[in-house]
């Protein structure tokens, strides 16, 4: 091997370790997957042979993911901790990867080009992305080992060296234990082209010239080596099956049956530019500039197998941009596979030629061509530009998290760990919101169990597998599908023993509040703890799935044994051949003849000009104020991201108020849209304005909140000044109450909890009675094919009570069809003698056992109460409620006569017939907040209630309160509970429709109030 090539190779190893090793320390915690792998590693560190993990999804089988990397980290963690183990294994794999690229390249190009390829591998954007953005250590481990296995197999077949088969197979075995998918697809994309090359080179050696090889020669050679290759194939299959047999057993016995999870790699990259950037442009990076050279080289005779492989991977890696990948893979595989891995493999397969290209450019015939045609300066300029591009693009990828945050800011988990450790909080499940992938790190450090998880393939709860929602934790990024899924879990938390939620995103606050969760405290790390009262603890014995003991032993022993065996074998043979250059290795000098250097140069320049031009054009197009639509989009986006000073700059400088005035008026607005919403879409129509150069824009904005979609309408006047458009300022709410100072009497409650500070015991004297409640009425109804239980309950006690209302629906045979709680169509906290209507929606039929008939026939309501110390804010009133005869909208005003600011007001609308029978209940959220001593108007279309069909009315038998039939309550309590008194003084909307309205107010934290 040329000394210079060796120097380059060592330089590559060193620079790879320095560049990736140093930066990985700072980047790995921000990657998508690193913490997931640490979670798995923690599992092995705690119990090596245990194959069941209770911590996620009500339990899952750990054999669902190849274990090697996790087990190695677990072993290393005994010395350096989990994170240290992750980093040490990463450093090792970086070196293995560069070695693999070098040796893999040497079978395709000559040693100098291979050395270039090794150096370029360090700066590979696809490798950098996999390591520093995705954190896919098992996948990287797999590919690094596979790249090392390919040359072994090549030498085995090309030069009949049996020990190379042994070393190659040992590496493939380790690959399977690290990432089986790499082995399976690697056989097609990496190993087959390698063996094909061996066959071609055998032909060339036999015939004497590569150019004289014909198909017949190849066929003859294939027939000659076929028995060996078949044996090899069988061995690979056997090894792959045996080394991770428990995985195959799991996948067969517990197949993945869930709605496909959307992945950006299946998008059309032309339509979703962000996906195109992440899954195509970044991985290919600067390699896009050498594509003509690559494909020219690939479709030389000796490289044809690799050419087919890279072409196929390139095509599959384009995702949904063309229909071809879906046609090739079939719909099922297309929806399960993440297609970015094909691009990843294609870029790695192309590395040898990327190295060859640079070799030719820097010291080969391309250099000669350029110097001859364009002069030395241009050559040096081109080299400098490309080298700078390679380095800068690699640095950009490594620093991508700093450019565009892919994860929430780092969360200190100690306060959460401490919270769960005290007072037996780990007796319940918990859920995190807005943690990103850090939830996996929390799980690794906590004994408590989460109902969510970060490995969607093992989810088995129907509530999860029936929706295209990867995690509950990031529900807001998955639109209403994600929100609906989260809502289901928050509505029936007792089913999962879910008591605590750690929220790092106040977007979810309204949902949590109105679903009856109580904000307990804010931890030192600013994570807010929410708690659901009245949740039973986890049973002491949880269900689990056992696998045979021999599989546990296989899983615990084989992967690491394979690694040790591979290291010993490869080390042994490497030492034996150290310093001996394989004399029989055929020189694979790049064919410089037939190169189209001029075309490549034109492509280079054309692509550079094209990218620059396109960027400039898009940049101009996206200038905030260059068009009316741009300024509207920019304004709403700034509001969405709370960048109010920037939003202010879009107002007409001649007419806008001062920035201070604008910010003050904006701060007074409050409400769910300004504080807890995410802008989803804008639809704008334009009309001519009142003056020349003016436009009137009618804007319909769609906002996603944790509760539902909001549609708001805005009329904005736009003015053009020069090239740019501006928004004319508009009036925000402005009302001046009469009194500067207001006194409001208030009551407060406090529940001591444990009066004695005892850690592990609750004294019986500290357990409060469940407050007495009474269900006034209830009915199972059907409306537009949806089933619900509506009714009314009252707190008959003298303590404030927290009400959990559960309804169960049965078919005619008495089999349970569904069981849900009232979520936000209820007031969960009721003061003494306060009543609430409720609606329990059966959002899906989820019978616990298969049923013969799914037609609802009867129902039971279970009301459970607890003494509530959290006093809800109720200093609100309703006035001027009426129906607008033109619009058939119900209009009115909510007045906040108290002393605190309402952030999100909810109206619970209860419609009655004049005979006082409850017809329907619906929640209505006002989009704006209400400051103290002010009112807010509301306008709501009257629902069409003609299609409601009552299936069954509630009676004394099917209405149960704290486990006691309603009748017993009535007899004992002797309270005036005449249903005819409810509602006592409704607003009469029409002759046949009454409405009673209750205001439920989500409050700001005191510090948030203006």
């Amino acid at each position: 091997m040329p000394k210079r090539a060796l120097q380059f190779y060592y330089l590559a190893l060193l620079s790879g370790l320095v560049l990736h090793g140093v930066t990985l320390v700072f980047t790995f915690e921000g990657t998508y997957d690193a913490f997931v792998h640490l979670f798995f590693a923690d599992h092995y560190a705690e119990n090596w042979f245990e194959t069941w993990d209770y911590k996620w999804y009500a339990g899952f089988t750990i054999t669902s993911y190849p274990p090697l990397v996790h087990q190695v980290i677990a072993l290393l963690s005994k010395v350096v901790g989990l994170k240290g183990g992750f980093l040490i294994w990463s450093f090792f794999i970086i070196l293995v990867f560069i070695r693999g690229v070098f040796h893999f390249s040497r079978i395709w190009v000559d040693d100098r080009a291979a050395a270039y390829a090794a150096v370029l591998a360090v700066f590979s954007t696809s490798f950098g992305e996999a390591l520093h953005i995705f954190g896919q250590l098992p996948s990287i481990t797999g590919i690094a080992l596979l790249l090392n296995a390919c040359p072994e197999l090549y030498y085995w077949l090309r030069y009949n060296q049996p020990h190379r088969l042994l070393t190659g197979l040992s590496l493939l075995a380790v690959t399977s234990t690290a990432h089986h998918v790499t082995t399976i697809f690697g056989m097609v994309f990496f190993v087959l082209p390698t063996l094909g090359l061996a066959v071609m080179n055998r032909c060339a050696a036999r015939i004497g010239s590569e150019d004289d090889i014909h198909f017949k020669d190849i066929f003859t050679e294939v027939i000659r080596v076929l028995p060996r290759v078949i044996v090899f194939g069988i061995l690979v299959i056997l090894i792959t099956v045996v080394v991770i047999f428990p995985y195959w057993y799991w996948s067969k016995s517990d197949p993945i049956a869930q709605v496909p999870i959307p992945h950006g790699s299946r998008d059309s990259y032309l339509e979703v530019l962000s996906s195109g950037l992440v899954f195509f442009l970044i991985p290919w990076g600067m390699m896009l500039f050498f594509l003509p050279f690559l494909f020219r080289e690939l479709f030389r005779k000796r490289n044809i197998f690799l050419g087919l492989s890279i072409t196929l991977a390139f095509l599959l890696g384009t995702g949904g941009t063309t229909p071809l990948p879906q046609m090739m893979l079939g719909e099922t595989a297309f929806n399960i596979l993440t297609l970015d891995r094909f691009t990843y493999w294609a870029t790695l397969l192309a590395l040898p030629f990327w190295g060859a290209f640079f070799f030719e450019l820097i010291e080969g015939s391309y250099r000669d061509y350029l110097e001859r045609r364009t002069g030395v300066f241009f050559h040096r300029f081109l080299v400098g530009t490309l080298v700078a591009g390679v380095v800068i693009s690699a640095l950009v990828v490594i620093n991508f998290q700093n450019i565009r945050a892919t994860q929430p800011a780092k969360i200190a988990i100690d306060p959460i760990v401490n919270f769960m450790a005290r007072d037996k909080h780990h007796d319940w499940r918990y859920l995190t919101l807005g943690f990103g992938d850090q939830m996996a790190w929390l799980s690794a450090n906590i004994d408590a169990l989460s109902i969510d998880g970060n490995y969607h393939s093992v989810r088995r709860l129907p509530e999860m597998t029936s929706r295209a929602v990867e995690r509950l934790e990031n529900a807001k990024y998955l639109g209403m599908e994600g929100i609906n899924s989260l809502q289901e879990f928050l509505t029936i938390p007792e089913k999962y023993r879910l008591k605590f939620i750690f929220s790092n995103d106040k977007f979810y606050d309204p949902l949590l509040f109105f679903a009856g969760w109580n904000k307990v405290q804010q931890l030192e790390n600013n994570i807010v703890v929410w708690e659901k009262p009245d949740i039973p603890t986890l049973p002491s014995v949880l269900p689990r799935k056992n696998i045979p003991i021999y599989q546990r032993l296989m899983w615990g022993l084989i992967p690491v044994s394979c690694l040790i065996l591979a290291l010993v074998l490869n080390g042994w043979f490497s030492m034996r051949s150290f310093g001996q250059e394989s004399s029989s290795r055929m020189a694979t000098v790049l064919a410089t003849k037939g190169q189209y250097w001029g075309v490549y140069t034109l492509w280079l320049l054309g692509l550079a000009v094209g990218i620059a031009g396109f960027s400039a054009y898009k940049g101009y197009q996206n200038l905030d104020q260059v068009s009316p639509q741009n300024v509207i989009d920019a304004y709403f986006n700034r509001l969405d991201f709370k960048d109010f000073p920037k939003a202010y700059t879009y107002f007409n400088p001649d007419t806008r108020p001062s920035l201070d005035q604008y910010l003050m008026e904006l701060s007074l607005e409050g409400g769910i849209l300004s504080s807890y919403a995410k802008l989803d879409a804008l639809r704008t129509t334009y009309q001519k304005g009142d003056h020349p150069g003016e436009l009137k824009a009618e804007i319909e904005a769609s906002w996603l909140t944790a509760l539902h979609y909001y549609q708001t309408k805005h009329t904005i006047t736009l003015t053009q000044r020069g090239l740019f458009w501006y928004i004319e300022p508009f009036q925000l709410e402005k009302r001046t109450p009469p009194d500067q100072f207001v006194r409001i009497p208030a009551i407060d409650f406090f529940s001591q909890g444990k009066r004695k500070a005892l850690a592990d015991k609750v004294e019986k004297r500290d357990i409060l009675d469940r407050p007495d409640f009474y269900i006034l009425s209830a009915a199972l109804v059907e409306r537009s094919g949806q089933y619900a239980v509506i009714g009314e309950a009252i707190n008959t006690d003298n303590d404030p009570g927290y009400l959990t209302l559960e309804a169960v629906m049965y078919n005619r045979q008495g089999q349970e069809l569904a069981r849900y709680n009232a979520r936000d169509a209820i007031s969960h906290m009721l003061y003494p003698k306060e009543s609430t209507t409720f609606r329990v929606d059966f959002t899906a039929l989820r019978p616990p056992v298969p049923v013969t008939d799914s037609v609802p026939h009867s129902f039971v309501v279970f009301a459970r109460s607890m003494v509530a110390a959290e006093g809800y804010y109720k200093n609100t009133g309703l006035q001027q409620v009426r129906v607008d005869s033109n619009t058939q909208h119900m209009q009115g005003e909510v007045i906040n006569y108290g002393a605190r600011q309402i952030i999100v007001p909810q109206l619970l609308l209860s419609y009655y017939r004049p005979d006082r029978k409850l017809l329907w209940v619906e929640p209505l959220y006002l989009s704006g907040g209400i400051r103290p001593q002010r009112q807010k108007a509301f306008d709501h279309p009257l629902p069409d209630l003609g299609d409601i069909r009552v299936i069954q009315w509630g009676n004394d038998d099917n209405l149960r309160i704290n486990g006691v039939p309603r009748q017993e309550y009535r007899q004992t309590l002797q309270i005036p509970l005449d249903v005819q008194r409810y509602p006592a003084a409704p607003f009469i909307l029409k002759d046949d429709l009454w409405v009673n309205i209750k205001v439920i107010a989500q409050m700001a934290a005191l510090s948030d109030e203006s």
């Binding site: 409001i744 003698k833 009133g877």
Partner: protein, 403 residues
């Protein structure tokens, strides 16, 4: 337990343990009585076949907690079994089995009776909250125990002392039965805390409490705390209830809901929840924006409305001028004056309607220093309009020509 296991292992594994003798072992437990007090029985004697002296004689002590083997020792020709204190301190029925080589030679029964009550009487109360004069009753269960923790004997007298709110202490006795004694405590008429204690012999309980809470609120009447009798919708009427009591005169619990309803011409126009503090609920009602006669009532859920409070609101705006500035295409409203001759306060709402045949244009504006202006759009259709301005119960109307 460890000794027991070791013994069993020893028995099972002992090299010289042959198959059980075919002959039934001969032995007899020597007991003069079958009734003992817990804790005093220290040893049990047995007469057994001395020919089997080399065999393992065991006394199996079977009580509610399980079977416990007791090894014996020979004293002359008598077997003596020392009974561990933890065995003989549990009251209840005990079966004694004298065994050897896995065969039972004799069986006897003992009855260990509890000793006299001592220490703390264990008490349970439920429910801890009952409503005055209702059918609800609380039960107090007391379990006096002896020095070994055994519930005292059936028939033992337990004395319960009760103190209802505002009453002197009364005592009630209950006999132990089925290991417990209990009394039912009915709800009386006065709210407060019922204090309960229990004693039996030298044993006493710690204090227990039962809350007697008020019954359903009675009728609610209202009084005005402060108000301004003008149709100024910025102002508030502060109303409060009388101290609300139940039918027995107890102040209702803090936080009890009282619904306050405003009617105008017999139609409900406002509904406000109020929550009691010391029996009184207070709410602020917003003044109407037009002259009106209000009828305000209050009630607790499930009860009839109390007597109505009537308030009349007169117009707040007494003078109002409207000018149309043709060149600026602007309506200028003001000065807007209130009953004292003062200008109305800032941000006072005004409703402006421009009507031309069937076309209505409606605008809302706010005053500033007693004036407000309404700039019409440049393309506002020209014509003669009837302009109506309404504010604070005052309405004026005039025709204007818009070019």
């Amino acid at each position: 337990m460890l000794i027991y296991i070791a013994l069993l292992v020893n028995l099972a594994c002992s090299a010289d343990s042959p198959a059980p003798d075919s002959a039934t072992p001969q032995g007899r437990i020597l007991l003069t009585d079958s009734l003992f007090q817990a804790g005093i029985l220290t040893s049990i004697y047995a007469r057994a076949d001395t020919a089997r002296a080399d065999k393992s004689w065991l006394l199996i002590w079977s009580d509610a907690l399980g079977d416990t083997p007791v090894t014996g020792s020979w004293r002359n020709d008598t077997l003596v079994f020392s009974i561990p204190r933890n065995l003989c301190s549990h009251s209840g029925r005990v079966q004694l089995s004298l065994t050897s080589g896995g065969q039972v030679a004799d069986q006897r029964f003992l009855q260990l009776t509890p000793a006299a009550p001592e220490g703390v009487v264990e008490t349970y109360v439920g429910p801890k909250t009952i409503t005055v004069s209702s059918g609800q009753r609380a039960m107090v269960v007391a379990i006096p125990k002896d020095a070994f923790g055994n519930p005292v004997a059936t028939g033992t007298v337990v004395t319960f002392s009760l103190r209802y709110p505002g009453q002197s202490i009364v005592t009630r006795e209950s006999l132990m039965d089925n290991l417990v004694s209990s009394i039912l405590i009915p709800a009386e008429e006065r709210k407060g805390q019922i204090l309960v204690g229990a004693t039996a012999g030298k044993a006493s309980s710690v204090e227990e409490g039962i809350a007697l809470t008020p019954a359903w609120p009675g009728q609610v009447s209202l009084e005005v705390e402060s108000w301004v009798p003008f149709a100024d919708p910025r102002q508030y009427v502060a109303v409060r209830t009388n101290p609300i009591v139940d039918a027995l005169g107890n102040l209702v619990a803090d936080g009890t809901l009282v619904q306050i309803v405003v009617r105008e011409q017999e139609q409900v126009v406002g509904s406000y929840p109020g929550f009691t503090s010391n029996g009184v609920a207070q709410v602020h009602l917003q003044n109407p924006n037009h002259p009106a006669d209000w009828e305000i009532t209050a009630f607790a859920n499930g009860k009839a409305e109390g007597p109505a409070l009537r308030l009349g609101f007169v117009p707040y705006v007494v003078a109002l001028a409207v000018t149309y500035l043709d060149e600026e295409k602007t309506l200028r409203i003001g000065p807007v004056k209130a009953p004292l001759g003062q200008l109305v306060t800032d941000d006072f709402p005004m409703e402006v309607t421009l009507q031309q045949q069937d076309q209505h244009y409606h605008f809302s504006v706010l005053t500033q220093d007693g004036f407000c202006s309404l700039s019409l759009p440049a393309d506002f259709p020209a014509g003669i309009y009837r302009c109506s301005v309404m504010a604070g119960g005052q309405r004026i109307s005039r025709e204007i020509y818009i070019r």
